[in-house]
């Protein structure tokens, strides 16, 4: 194993991680605004495009957490494939491309009444458990190398990985069987 390269600290010169914190703040604000737009906008296509922003923000967070492999996977799988798939879904179901007042049901009040207490509860529990604990109490935040991720997949998690392959195959066949016109 290349211990020297895998444990190269990210910006060891800034112990307080100021640039990362600024980047995180910007990313978090953009992501939360975009996520709110995904669930409130009147236009399905706009919702899909706001979703791209959320997913890109998640990829940015993966980079901040030092995992480049997952960030690239996120961009490839989510932005490259899933959003395109969702847009195809919008197109094939002939949803109105313009604004659509019927996109929401009349349960908005109930939905807020479920989501807001959920957020408050999770926020309280998280604050109570972790307080101001740092991501790394000793040492710097390190880059997780792709080699380590692959060692883990093809070592410890080999059986679940094969199960995931079977799942993808089953999903592929299932989707074709369901969507095909007979």
């Amino acid at each position: 194993m290349h211990a020297a390269t895998t444990t190269a600290p990210i910006l060891a010169a800034t112990p307080e991680y100021l640039p990362q914190n600024i980047a995180f703040g910007i990313l978090a604000a953009v992501m939360i605004y975009a996520a709110l737009r995904v669930v409130t906008t009147k236009n399905v296509v706009h919702a899909a495009l706001w979703l791209v922003l959320v997913l890109a923000g998640v990829a940015g967070n993966f980079i901040l957490l030092g995992n480049e492999f997952l960030a690239v996977t996120q961009v490839l799988v989510y932005i490259g494939a899933i959003v395109v798939l969702l847009l195809f879904g919008v197109m094939l179901t002939r949803a109105p491309i313009g604004a659509d007042a019927d996109l929401d049901n009349d349960q908005r009040g109930v939905a807020v009444a479920v989501a807001a207490p959920l957020l408050a509860l999770m926020g309280y529990v998280l604050w109570d458990s972790f307080r101001e604990q740092r991501l790394t109490e000793k040492g710097d935040l390190v880059v997780q190398s792709t080699q380590q991720v692959s060692d883990s997949i093809f070592g410890t998690f080999l059986i679940p990985f094969e199960a995931a392959s079977i799942l993808l195959l089953a999903a592929l066949i299932g989707a074709i069987v369901l969507a095909r016109r007979d």
Binding site: V54, A115, S152
Partner: protein, 104 residues
């Protein structure tokens, strides 16, 4: 960086996704909200992975779990959209409020 800043972001995205699942009527929009929920979980996985590593990058378990979540999400969207298409073909509508055949 604090652990909690990532966990709070994940919690906020999760709550927004839950709101979307409950308040949306279009089935494709519901699927988008589910994607937001799954992504919020992935942020938590990687934050805990980084916390578990504590500066020596010896564990990748959280990253592998996040990878599995991405895989399952891809499968879910594929099958989900096929179901939505079937629904549209038989019902001419993807309004999840109108699909209440079990209601009697």
């Amino acid at each position: 960086m604090l652990v909690n800043q990532f966990l709070f972001l994940g919690a906020a995205l999760f709550a927004i996704g839950v709101y979307g699942v409950l308040a949306r009527r279009n089935a494709v929009a519901v699927l988008m909200s589910i994607e937001i929920i799954l992504n919020s979980v992935n942020i938590n996985f990687l934050a805990f992975n980084a916390m578990h590593n504590q500066g020596n990058a010896s564990h990748a378990d959280g990253a592998v779990f996040a990878l599995f979540v991405i895989t399952v999400a891809a499968a879910e969207v594929g099958v989900g959209l096929a179901l939505v298409l079937m629904l549209y073909r038989t019902r001419k509508s993807i309004d999840v409020d109108k699909i209440d055949a079990l209601k009697g």
